[in-house]
Subunit: 265 residues, 2 copies
């Protein structure tokens, strides 16, 4: 999973647990594939395997939606596809705006997985005047001056932020002020939003760092002893590069950091 999870207290959403909601799209994907192969029914076991989860978990997840299965048989594929789609709100049209048409924004604009799920790219917005009018993935880019107008006219409630981190918060603020209540954030920053607005974060760098952690684990199973020893006692103070205290000045070579210089936009 990518990472995101800047949710409100989570919890109640008419009973359906967050963890279950997060898996519904997974089930839906597997079911859609079965549907295309005209498979009429599936058992929890088969579907669970296709979705990559435990079958008990799948059954419990479905139990939150209702009793849609038939004991001794399994689940009706078409029916489940509809029920899950409805539960996720995919039976209606969701206009989406993408702000920040750099490499990533352009990739998102051309992403096929949106249209097939009821999401419609209503507009592409960028702050660069040179981009205005230029078609990306068949959709002309509009200038960010018109952001509010676009949101309101199209009744957009979902916004995707693919701008550099430096301007993400202000873009976010404008989106929210204009009426957007759900945001998918690709910029590497923590966005603060008022209550009632959902933010999900996707951070490529974080995913890689998590992988690196496990990779390091796997690689140095024995060299760990050395590292651990260093941390153990206060000897760490003597061993580790930057002194635990002092060295206030910016001694570290300023790396490109990540606040700016991310995603050309």
């Amino acid at each position: 999973m990518a990472t995101g999870r800047t949710h409100r207290p989570a919890t109640r959403s008419r009973g359906i647990p967050e963890a279950t909601v997060a898996r519904l799209p997974l089930y839906l994907r597997a079911l859609t594939a079965l549907s295309e192969r005209s498979v009429p029914t599936v058992s929890s076991e088969e579907l669970a395997a296709a979705a990559g989860v435990n079958s008990a978990k799948l059954r419990k997840d479905f139990s939150y939606l209702g009793s849609y299965g038939t004991r001794g048989v399994g689940y009706d594929v078409e029916y489940l596809v509809y029920q899950i789609s409805r539960e996720l709100g995919l039976t209606q049209d969701w206009p989406v705006v993408i702000v920040g048409i750099g490499n990533l924004g352009a990739a998102l604009a051309g992403y096929g997985g949106f249209a097939s799920r009821g999401f419609r790219v209503a507009a592409l917005i960028d702050a660069d005047p040179a981009m205005t009018g230029k078609p990306v993935a068949g959709i002309p880019v509009q200038h960010s001056d018109d952001l509010e107008k676009i949101i309101e006219e199209d009744g957009v409630s979902i916004g995707v932020i693919a701008t550099p981190a430096g301007v993400a918060q202000q873009v976010c603020d404008r989106l929210v002020a204009a009426g957007v209540t759900s945001i998918l954030n690709f910029a590497p920053t923590v966005l603060s939003v008022p209550d009632g607005v959902d933010v999900r974060k996707v951070d490529l760098s974080i995913e890689l760092q998590i992988l690196a952690f496990h990779e390091q684990r796997k690689a140095g199973e024995e060299s760990n002893a050395e590292a651990d020893a260093a941390v153990d006692a206060e000897t760490a103070t003597a061993v580790a590069p930057p002194a635990p205290r002092g060295a206030t000045g910016g001694s570290r070579k300023g790396p490109d950091g990540d606040v700016p210089a991310v995603m050309p936009a």
Copy 2:
């Protein structure tokens, strides 16, 4: 966060909980920003706010790494940056290959957040011969025939899959066979890998679907009564579009689905 989480039983990694590991990059980001502003120390409260988490959680997270703070003062920024970097394995160089240089692959290749964290794009690989040799983000694309050779020569252990879903599993198999033990998967498919290999998934479509779910919640707070009633009794059978039973044939218009036709690559 994106979504991914196709982990092994999770659990022990020398004590540090998965949830904590997933937050370390967040803290690191906030700390790096402070470091650039030459801030010498931070309290758990301040840092927590910058990272968007609870201060108690942050302190507990840090407690897994050791006692790096000073009571009454806070944490030494430079020292913490180093400790977290080391824990995440970012003090070493991680060569990464990106397979599938479509819109998304190209965006990833040009992503600034990689280099700044010790990740180095060692190679870009694509199956299209027309792409071979063409520079993307300054790096010449290589043909997938050479995949194994590239992995081995560069000692790559982390691979990024940005291909269409249809070929993701076979690309994954080849990567693993060649020695890759960590995979970041952007293709909308469940990848099966042998034990010892980590897979993290980022699925843009899933993130949007989760947002749509909450959005629907927010929008129809009263129209829910109507929907619930329909599901309640067996009347659902009479109301809902696809009949719970029968209708075996591929009546559904084959939508672009998601197995193929995703990410041009």
